[in-house]
Amino acid sequence: MSIQRRKVALGLVTALAAASLMVPLLSAGISGAATHSTRDSVTSFPRNETLYTSGTAYSAPTNWNPMNLGNYATGTQGLLYETLFLYNPLNSKNPYMPWLARGGVWTDPGTYKITLRNGLTWSDGSALTSADVAYTIMLAKTNPAVPYSNLGPFIKSVSTPNSQTVVVNFKAGAYTVWSNFLWSQPIVNKAVWSTWTPAQQITDANTSPIGSGPMLLDSAATTTQSVAYTVNPNWWGIADLGLNFRFKYLVDVVNGSNNVELGQLLESNIDLSNNFLPGISQLISSPAATGKLNASGGYGLATYYPTAPYMLSANTVWLEPNLTKAPMNNLNFRKALAYAINPQQIANVIYSNIVNPATPTGLLPNLNSFIDKGVVSKYGYSYNPKLAKQYLKASGYKGQNVKIESPDGWTDWNTGSEVIVQQLAAVGIHATAYFPQYAARESDLTNGTYDLALDNNAGPSSTPWKYFDRVFQLPIAKQQTAQLNWERDNNPQAWALVQKLGSISPANTKGAQAVYSQLEQIFLQTLPEIPLWYNGAWAQYNTSYWKDFPTVATDHYTPIMWGGWLGNMTTVLALAHLQPVG
């Protein structure tokens, strides 16, 4: 009898537990979505009308404010808000593409005239006019926290002769900052931004974005796991450029771990992955024996280059010496480092050749035309242990141990720095690899309490200006918080040259090149940073549902959804050229 009763009780409890499990899960899913909804009653995205991307977002999408650089959801720049021009790193002859602007020209050395395209509209139907552009530019003057406020001091005045023309008057020295603005800063909606306080203009989540771009935010389908967009049927690019998106929905997935992302890509749940996936080159080059096979054999994966290095280059990884500490402050010691390290070995062993070793200046391949080959052949260096030993001897190095920092869990950098330790040991330098937490490493670099560190904070840009601006930035503060000149190189001559670039007209390419050559020479002679390899612009395509992704053989667009690429470079064009399979 009592056993009977206990059985009933146990059954009850089990039933209760089972019920308690479904209720929270259900409401979890529903509360995970934003509350306001405008879409039709589709409950799931049709697979053959949806493009799935990953590799960009590391937190739940909560923010669609393009001024909030660190936090905005994937697609805020590019899919919702657009720039006046795009920069195409794969076309060195004609790198700037008019986007919202139909054209732009320096009418005199201090005046720039922008002409907007016809028929630009915001997604609420109102017209995008010169007033919006002028307002966006003026924010640089009125709000010091906008990402491009360094432009502010150079602006004299902005005028709008008509709804499609903006004329900007500059003080001297604005060229570099301005050309950077043209392709990297999206135009925001005056009607929205002007109602906000200066702090709100940067920090408001902008959850009902009114953009000008090719997509609309699908709030109802946006969850903590992904952000969803639908194609904007009224986008100006359809009529003006004949660009037609063949997918209806774009879903960008928040990253789990690399293994999870690899699994999702292989299962065809992701079409475009911008994750770093170690060992991806094996999966691309060999038809795999297991898993989902498609007609061409293997997993149906593709990359920009069919063979090594498979990926475009995204940024330069440096060995960053702390120039305020011995022995790193000794030029001969730094030369010994530069000659002792063999980045080719790291590219082979650690990366299975999905990265390329850096050239001596460390400038990315898209800036090749700016590299002075005469300077490099005269002052450049390459792997040479014998020379390394000579320089080490000349440096008076007394066998001190130096630590090489890389953030814990960045496995490729961690193993890479172990390889460097071995290579340095071979010439007689005692180094140890050290893996602090990311935040601790950040603090070490900011406060200058490190010896050597792996660092990659010089990203893609349209000229070498940004690169040298990072390397030679002065003055040096006690805390180098802005991530500029972390190596603490005090070189006023080089910094003067960097600043001089601002007053050389873009038309004067010869004058600019002369300065770049000088900077490259100083860089190679003083070695404030030691370039190692180019981190890849990781992009893996699963071609089961969508084809015609950018490759070296076809269209030269950037296949990258990352901030600073999507919306600034040609990723939107790459997306517009995708075709459904079958």
């Binding site: 009592s2 409890v13 209760l16 537990a17 089972a18 308690s20 499990l21 479904m22 929270p24 899960l25 259900l26 409401s27 979890a28 899913g29 529903i30 509360s31 995970g32 879409r39 409950t43 799931s44 995205f45 949806t50 799935y52 590391y58 937190s59 739940a60 909560t62 923010n63 909030n68 650089l69 660190g70 936090n71 010091p144 926290a145 990402p147 406020s149 360094n150 702090a199 940067i202 920090t203 989540a205 389908a221 969850t223 903590t224 796991q225 969803a228 879903v251 997935v253 789990g256 999870v260 699994g263 898993g291 990311y438 935040a439 950040e442 904070n457 940004k466 918080t481 802005a482 500029l484």
Partner: protein, 330 residues
């Protein structure tokens, strides 16, 4: 009873104060500054950087002296305000947690309850049948000794990645092609994503309960009162009933202690499956120096563990007559 509860309540309040203060303090002792971490990847020019930095420092109140920050932490806390998340800026921590907490509860509550009841049941059964004991005991030892992430990977390999088959999805809380809503596709997706993380938590805890119950029952069956009952000619069923009742008490205490461990287990399991619960969030909050989020999640865990302990305290009074006598006598 009232005095018993009052005494317990005071202990809980003091515990809460200590835990909450630690919770406030610990993230701030981590090296690094969350704002400079947030701004580190933006490649801003120095003047812009400083303006943005000051804006955020002010927005988060980091520009005030520490004791003011501490006081306003308590002030906000009693008003149910946990601040704004840095990593999911500008979402309030309460709503970040609200999006994830139900996933964790949906894993934890069934896992704790089912493992407790099933484990005790199977353990008790094993104690009285030699043949069953020979399988239950070693299996339980293996299960309870298995680290959560390892079991999670094993299950993922076997049932999701094709070791045995592709029965369940490998990660996430639901398929991201779905629009959340009350429809079968979505509910089914939730359920299939739930199975493997649940199994991980359930199996490890199950092993522990089964072993505990088996040992306790054997101990109770060997004790004097059992032999006395047997000598009086009581049927074995009755003897086992009393043994079970007595063996249950240490298990209930164990349940209270287990709660904290299980929350930790849930963190590791969720991370392994990228399951969008609190555990997954903890990892992200730590990685981004998100004081407020970390604080909020731990606050939630602290309150959860204290509340369940309180409930267990009360349950204990109900199931153990000796406590009742003790209270009445006091």
């Amino acid at each position: 009873m009232r005095r018993y509860l009052a005494r317990k309540l005071i202990i809980y309040v003091v515990t809460f104060w200590v835990a909450a203060t630690t919770d406030w303090l610990l993230p701030r002792l981590v090296p690094g500054n969350p704002i400079s971490l947030l701004l580190s990847k933006l490649s801003l020019q120095p003047t812009t950087y400083n303006a943005t930095y000051n804006l955020y420092m002010k927005a988060f109140g980091f520009n005030r002296p520490w004791w003011k920050q501490y006081l306003s932490f308590w002030d906000a806390l009693v008003h149910g305000n946990l601040g704004v998340s840095i990593y999911e800026f500008p979402k309030p921590v309460t709503s970040v947690i609200a999006d994830s907490v139900l996933f964790t509860l949906g894993l934890l509550i069934p896992a704790i309850l089912l493992a407790y009841f099933a484990g005790n049941k199977v353990g008790a059964m094993a104690a009285r049948r030699k043949s069953l004991d020979n399988t239950v005991l070693p299996v339980s030892y293996i299960l309870t000794g298995t680290p959560y992430p390892w079991l999670a990977l094993l299950l993922a390999f076997l049932f999701a990645a094709g070791g045995i088959g592709h029965f369940f999805p490998i990660s996430g809380g639901f398929s991201y092609g779905l629009v959340p809503g009350l429809n079968w596709t979505f509910v089914w997706s939730l359920a299939t994503h739930w199975v493997l993380p649940f199994l991980t938590l359930f199996l490890v805890a199950f092993g522990g309960w089964a072993i505990g119950m088996r040992n306790l029952i054997i101990y109770e069956l060997e004790s004097d009162y059992s032999h006395y009952l047997e000598a009086l000619g009581a049927p074995p069923k009755l003897v086992r009933k009393y043994a079970y009742k007595n063996a249950r008490l240490p298990q209930i205490t164990g349940l209270a202690l287990q709660l904290g461990v299980l929350v930790g287990g849930a963190v590791l399991t969720e991370v392994t499956f990228s399951y969008p619960g609190l555990g997954f969030l903890v990892l992200k909050a730590i990685g981004n120096d998100d004081y407020f989020l970390l604080q909020g999640i731990f606050m939630f865990i602290i309150i959860g563990v204290l509340a369940s302990n309180f409930i267990i305290d009360i349950v204990y009074v109900l199931v153990d007559p000796r406590t009742r006598v003790g209270i009445a006598g006091a």
